[in-house]
Amino acid sequence: MTISKKSNAFEKIGKAEVLSRLIDIFGSTNVSNKQVDLYPYSYDMTENEPHMPDFVVIPENKEQLVELVIFCNQYAIPIVPYTSGNNVGGLTIPDYGGIIVDFGKKMNKIIHVNDNMMYALIEPGVTFGQLQKYLEENYPHLRYSYPNAPPYAGVMGNALLSGMTNLGAKIGSMADSVNGLEVIIADGDIVRIGSCFYGKEEADLNSWWSRYPMPDLLGLFVNWQGMTGLVTKCAVQLWPKEPVEKPQLAIFFGLTDLAPFLREVGKIDIINDIAAFSVEVAKMEVGIPEPVKYPEEPYYTAVIPISAKNEEHLNVKLNLLNEIVEKLNHQGTNIHLIDYNEFSKLYDLKARNIYDLPSQILSLHEYSGLTWFGAYAPTDKFEELIEKTDKIYKKHGFPPFNYLKIMKGGHYGIFRPIFRFKRFTERERVLKLAEEIADTCIALGCIPYKTPSWLTAKLREKINPGWIRLFEKVKRCLDPNNIFNPGRWNTSPSSNKN
């Protein structure tokens, strides 16, 4: 049986008593301690070690969760928030057992959309597919920013973990566009953060319009991987849906031709996003099953969503894009631009999955395992990152699968080597590859996000001691009994006692 790391969670109270209390709070049909119900929550698609939870609960409202948090805080029982477990970082694996709070099944309402200030107030279980459908049916002039994640992935989880979006070149990560949160902290207090902070009772639904200018308490919960509280509401920004779209497909014949293109295109504010893939895997999106690059083929391809207010606006953007390509090719690169709509007509509809998000991206769902070294990256290191990882992939016998983006007007980049594998036979092999790539990328300044514990252990060796001391002080202050997702960032139950 998959076991959990040692914790003292049930020294103060027996599991039978916990079960009884959970049933009181959530009702018997929304609580399980059956092994068969717990087992699917014990591991995810990644290389991370499985651990069994002790209970799973399905909450319906924050009042239940306040009771849960107070109870768990009293007895130091771990709480692990879960929406669909798609984070690719092992972040919902209950390292120290405890209670999985499955938000995805009932706390999944889109509470409000403010058309004027363009935001959606959502519960934790809302998914990308759900939000897209709701907007298309009710606010067709608005859009959200969607990642290359499956349609059932959770919006709030991705936002709180600084996930990617298909507006990334404009707006940065999803965390950059969170307006406000409602959070239950360890003592059971309900905290509203952002412009919704006025008022003693429930916030006005139209008050969730800004994160600033008050002290930015949101930072206590963004990227903390559920270690500081249970977030029960989140306001995310929406954007006007521009009426004209003409996505482009760029192909890069030189190994590092992509790097200067990303830097240049990021600076001039003409694209919504760019999703660049190693060609081996990009070919899978058009139905070529074997991830192989043949000698004359390009090294990278990139889908570039471009939208505009009208045709004239679009043409200006396309002209600027072509000028970048011409300039770079004049300097020695070999880059070609193709109309993506025309290109995708050559293939079946699945070829559009990479653009028509949210979708199930075919190459990511090939096997039973998927993991990555997903990192924010210094863009002036793109060439080195591409060259060095290319060699590492080949050394370990894996086809290269790098994914690169330029973010927020070119201020930073994303460098994400992705590893697809058969989880039950190739785990050790992929872990070795991932570790070598992680060491290489971290040495070049990359900062991983949605970080698994084995990787945060590496980071801790590199991070300045002051940062770590402050991190741990904040964690102890907010979660003195370490009940919130213990194990993340190597926070063991004993770590709070330092």
């Binding site: 092994q35 087992y39 499956p150 349609p151």
Partner: protein, 392 residues
């Protein structure tokens, strides 16, 4: 990789469970339509009741991390095997998800037995060759009544549900075949084995398949027609999967109707002045890919106004009867149908129709239990209500 007993019928798909599925959850919603599609998951909620959770259960029991206990029965058997997950999933194993669940059930039956009451599907067959436990009909009375020969080009494979529960559908089909002057007969059938395959109870499956094949051969038939979506899927897909070569052409009755319409041989002499909505049977739709054929027929019936439910074709919400749920979880089965009838109500239809006697049974049960006022009719019954002329 774990070793799987060679004797397990679906060994290959069990192995596939280890190499495929990252549990991305795309199987939970209708793909790109983002509507609820999994009756089991929506009811029981925990991950163990969704398709990807069941794939994890396969891994757990085979790698020894999950013990075979009675706790596994509901997550394994409370599923209609409607195939909505197969339609939603875009990964390479998509087409095999239901086979994986059936393979898991095969293992479960060996270790902990099927769900409550599902064992009767087999024991009743052993007593009387049908899962309803009705005295076996050798169909000789029907042959006499309809003046059918002992040998013919076609066999009408009635199926147990039509023969023992939905006789009006059976009789409508018999009358249609007679009107069309099809050279057909009936045989002393055994159950097609669909209920046993769906519930992982394979002990009598091969024998029954062989028996039915012999009966059809003895009748000299080259073609088999059935009015049951479950029999149709089983005769085409499962017989082959179980290694049984039939050498017959298999037709659903609607395929014959459509052929006759296309050849202008079937003409309508009266109309059917009602608003009708069509419920796609899972066994005909998602499992066999037949969505437009029935609609093309309904649209040609004069005065019939065909309206679509919000979830239709590959996105259809299951009626709730399949996969052993009707016998194993009877209350939940009609709860699922209730949701379908509520959706049908939104269309303004007064008639809900299908092309499967099992769907008809469960929709009728929900219609009665929850006081809807639909007429629940099969396509063949609607055709029986209008005046038709078939040129031979």
């Amino acid at each position: 990789m774990v070793e799987i007993d060679e004797k397990v019928m679906n060994k290959e798909v069990l192995e596939m469970a280890f190499d495929r599925c990252i549990k991305c959850s795309t199987c939970k919603y209708s793909y790109k339509n983002f509507e609820k599609s999994c009756p089991s998951g929506e009811k029981f909620l925990f991950e163990s009741y969704w398709p990807s959770g069941r794939i994890r259960i396969i891994r757990g029991v085979l790698n020894g991390e999950l013990d075979w206990t009675d706790e596994l029965i509901d997550p394994i058997f409370a599923c209609t095997t409607c195939g909505a997950c197969m339609d939603s999933c875009q990964a390479p194993h998509a087409d095999y998800i239901v086979e994986m669940i059936e393979a898991l059930r095969e293992l479960a039956v060996q270790h902990i037995g099927p769900a409550k009451n599902q064992q009767f599907l087999v024991s009743r067959c052993e007593e009387s060759c049908n899962p309803y436990g009705e005295p076996n009909s050798d169909n000789e009375d029907l042959k006499k009544k309809y003046n059918l020969p002992d040998k013919a080009e076609w066999v009408y494979f009635i199926g147990c549900t039509s023969n023992y529960r939905q006789q009006s559908l059976r009789d409508a089909t018999l009358r249609f075949l007679k009107k069309a002057k099809i050279d057909f007969t009936l045989v002393d059938e055994h159950c097609c084995t669909s209920p046993m395959i769906r519930t992982g109870q394979l002990s009598i499956v091969k024998d029954y398949m062989n028996y039915n094949i012999a009966q059809i051969k003895n009748a000299g038939a080259k073609k088999v027609i059935t009015s049951c979506a479950g029999c149709y899927k089983t005769l085409i897909n499962d017989f082959e999967r179980f290694g049984e070569e039939m050498g017959f052409e298999i037709y659903h009755s609607l395929e014959l109707v459509k052929q006759l319409l296309d050849k202008k041989k079937l003409k309508f002499k009266s109309g059917y002045n009602k608003i009708v909505t069509y419920h796609d049977p899972c066994h005909l739709g998602r499992h066999m890919g037949i969505y437009e054929l029935p609609r093309e027929i309904y649209k040609q019936i004069p005065d019939l106004k065909l309206v679509e439910m919000k979830r239709n074709r590959n996105f259809s919400w299951c009626c709730g009867a399949g996969g052993g749920v009707k016998i194993g979880y009877p209350d939940w089965a009609i709860e699922i149908s209730k949701e379908r009838l509520e959706e049908a109500k939104e269309t303004g239809a007064t008639v809900i129709t299908s092309t499967c006697p099992f769907c008809k049974t469960n929709l009728t049960d929900a219609n009665n239990a929850y006081n809807f006022d639909f007429e629940v009719l099969d396509l063949m019954e609607i055709l029986d209500k209008v005046e038709i002329e078939i040129e031979v």
